[in-house]
Symmetry: C2
Subunit: 429 residues, 2 copies
């Protein structure tokens, strides 16, 4: 029996892009290693539901090992990549020696960015990981608890003010969910605070919400979110964030709960590869998703700056990452077989955002959908795309249950809390 040589494909990052690349290589004559610094794949589109206590972390995340358990040619490494040596074709790891690759797919995603004001992060956390989401949940629920016992009316008002910075899908979805949480779900449970005490403010720098959507859908989304009691402030630039207020120029909004949904910055993959990148740190790639000069290195998903047929950069959404993952896998197999791959072509199916418990907007290109029907489609699509049969059942069940009852079952404040100290270091940290 001769041992045939099987090229080694290393995939860094097990998000939508990395996992779809790994799966596309399932039956190919290659060895696949998936490296991630976390042990779980995360269904990021539903992360705001964890942050607002509607879902549990395990509902929207699954161990990468379990997802790839059936794939014989794949192994999973829990480790952090610290660099890439393109000349020697190795990846450096934080905890193990360098790992050699024949082909490399970099799918490390993005973090939120404070545009150089990183100290704002202490007071306005973003929502990219499960830890981010549970920290935001902690902050929102604790603000309600503190408001319940606060006797000073000004301080109480600040505790009941929730400010979302950024009016893209994350900001809009969070604003709707928090408005429902603060106005309805908790109204039965508290004795001192009443639903109309809460104020939810959505701040956008563009002249409309969901600026990436067509204008009629932006308008519909704004109407829907205002109907939930959210105050929408557009064309506004946040100039300062402190632990007890947010500033928009001269205007000061007292709040203890600001949440960041304004910008993202790609992971440092471009730096590793010494590749040119755009303003958001995304590596500029060729039409075959490789970095110019490194034909064995593919960069995909939120880490890549890739332009669409209309010359505009592709958005940082799951379908782009998934299609790029599948493409990179196929391009590698083509090159191994001695063929030149076709350039990557993104196929756009639609853009979705949800507003509160039962409204959504969907942009299918020619067809625009709003309202309850859009929400049903949004729900079906999200449940369908969740990884794992069990998670689908759990999340589907939760969506139905929350729709029927307004319940927020995952309202846990974990960690030791000092209930009303405003300078609480746990929160400021």
């Amino acid at each position: 029996m001769t041992q045939t040589f099987r090229p080694h494909v290393v995939i860094v990052g097990a998000g939508f892009g990395g996992l779809s690349a790994a799966r596309a290589l399932a039956h190919a004559p290659v060895e696949v290693t998936v490296i991630d610094k976390r042990n779980h794949h995360l269904f990021q589109p539903l992360l705001y539901q964890v942050a607002t206590a509607a879902l549990s972390p395990a509902d929207i995340a699954g161990p990468i090992r379990a997802i790839l358990a059936g794939q014989k040619n794949a192994r999973v490494l829990l480790d952090r990549v610290t660099g890439v040596d393109v000349a020697n074709r190795t990846v450096s790891l934080a905890n193990a020696g360098p790992l050699a690759y024949d082909w490399l797919i970099v799918a490390t995603g993005a973090r939120h960015s404070y545009f150089g004001k990183d100290h704002w992060g202490a007071h306005a956390p973003g929502i990219k990981t499960i830890d981010d989401a549970t920290a935001v949940r902690h902050k929102v629920l604790l603000a309600l608890e503190r408001a319940e016992t606060e006797t000073d009316p000004e301080r109480r008002k600040a505790l009941l003010t929730f400010v979302l910075i950024g009016a893209g899908p994350t900001g809009v979805e969070m604003a709707g969910a928090i408005a429902e949480l603060a106005h309805r779900s908790v109204s039965r449970d508290f004795r001192s605070i009443t639903p109309h005490c809460s104020r939810v403010v959505l701040i956008g720098s563009e002249p409309r919400v969901l600026a990436a959507f067509p204008e009629d859908l932006s308008a519909a989304a704004q109407r829907a979110i205002e109907a939930l009691g959210v105050e929408v402030r557009l064309g506004s630039k946040v100039t300062h964030v402190a632990y007890d207020h947010v500033e928009i120029g001269e205007d000061i909004i007292p709040t203890h709960t600001a949440i960041w949904a304004a910008g993202v910055m790609a992971s440092p993959a471009a730096e590793w590869l010494a590749a040119p990148c755009d303003r958001a740190g995304r590596a500029v790639v060729d039409s075959d998703l490789t970095v110019p000069g490194c034909e064995r290195v593919f960069v995909i998903g939120d880490t890549a700056a890739c332009v669409g047929p209309d010359r505009r950069p592709l958005p940082g959404i799951a379908p782009v990452a998934k299609q790029q993952g599948r493409y990179a896998a196929q391009a590698i197999l083509a090159r191994i077989a001695g063929r030149e791959p076709q350039p990557f072509a993104y196929r756009h199916y639609g853009n979705l955002a949800t507003i509160g418990r039962k409204r959504a907007v969907i942009d299918f290109g020619r067809v625009h959908l709003t309202g309850w029907l859009a929400w049903v489609l949004w729900s079906v699509a999200h449940v369908f795309f969740l990884v794992g049969f069990r998670n689908r059942l759990a999340v589907g069940w939760n969506l139905v249950w929350n729709y029927l009852t307004f319940a927020r079952h995952a309202r846990l404040i974990t960690g030791e809390v000092e209930a009303s100290a405003p300078e609480d270091r746990r929160l400021a940290a």
Copy 2:
């Protein structure tokens, strides 16, 4: 309209005892304030399932506010009690001014105790809170991940050795669950480690496991747990715990995952009340559960040292706390009405412990039950006693699902991890 005086009952702690007292006062002419330093009630008997990744925290915990939302005469305070002034009938709070009571019920539970060796806690965490359970889950899952990439056989063996210190119900349940997790649930997902690599050791200081149960049930439990591959070491005293080993006298067991299930210490309620206490810190109470000399202060549940009809102290289990909570509520109402309450009489229904995915032992007094039927009864009882319809459905569904599939869906390692550094401060902290 005249405002009638309604006595104020303050309940400290929203565990089984505190909540059952609050509920027993639902229709009584009193005002009830429930104070807890956490915002959630926890169904502790299933906590080991969170620690072994079978359930999510929100499956077994619910916001205290939501549980008491329908009870008009009750309000909930998220705060930490720091002392009691019996003479002035007030409770001191960490974040608000003193709170006056007419009647006080102290139900603050217990923490695990290291018998004066508190530094062991860093290497052998106990399981009493949700944060404890997720920390243990983190430790167990990370040990498996590290073992997967560890090349040194000795170190790998240590990473795959799990030591449970204490052979009471918690130790036995954890040992069974970890054995199944390490031997079966994860066997598909890993490439280097195989099921038979793992070693689970259960250390008990008594001559048998489940020493509070009758001998035949102890024997049955030991057989069942040994059938799962657990190594049982009885009559053994742990003399030292370090980050990479556990010592029993001369004998050294290399392990990176020791878990403490050996002893508990009551919360400092006896100290607050300057009341005499037993060796485990529990306040000695009269037959009406009040502290001698403080007839308006009841101490219940794990915080109280109360003897049963056989002169033995009542065990620290949920039914005792619940019955005492109901009793304290009724005793208060009797005193308010000018009657003297009957002494507290504990009614024992049975003792349960579960072993792995489908075995349990139940002591009904005259009737002893073991095996699969006991497990079914255990499951039904636990699901039935869970607070909240939604949690019952979720946990019931999870029990069935896990029974059918061996799945452990909540296998999330959260927080930033440095995958294989043995001195990892996050774990040691």
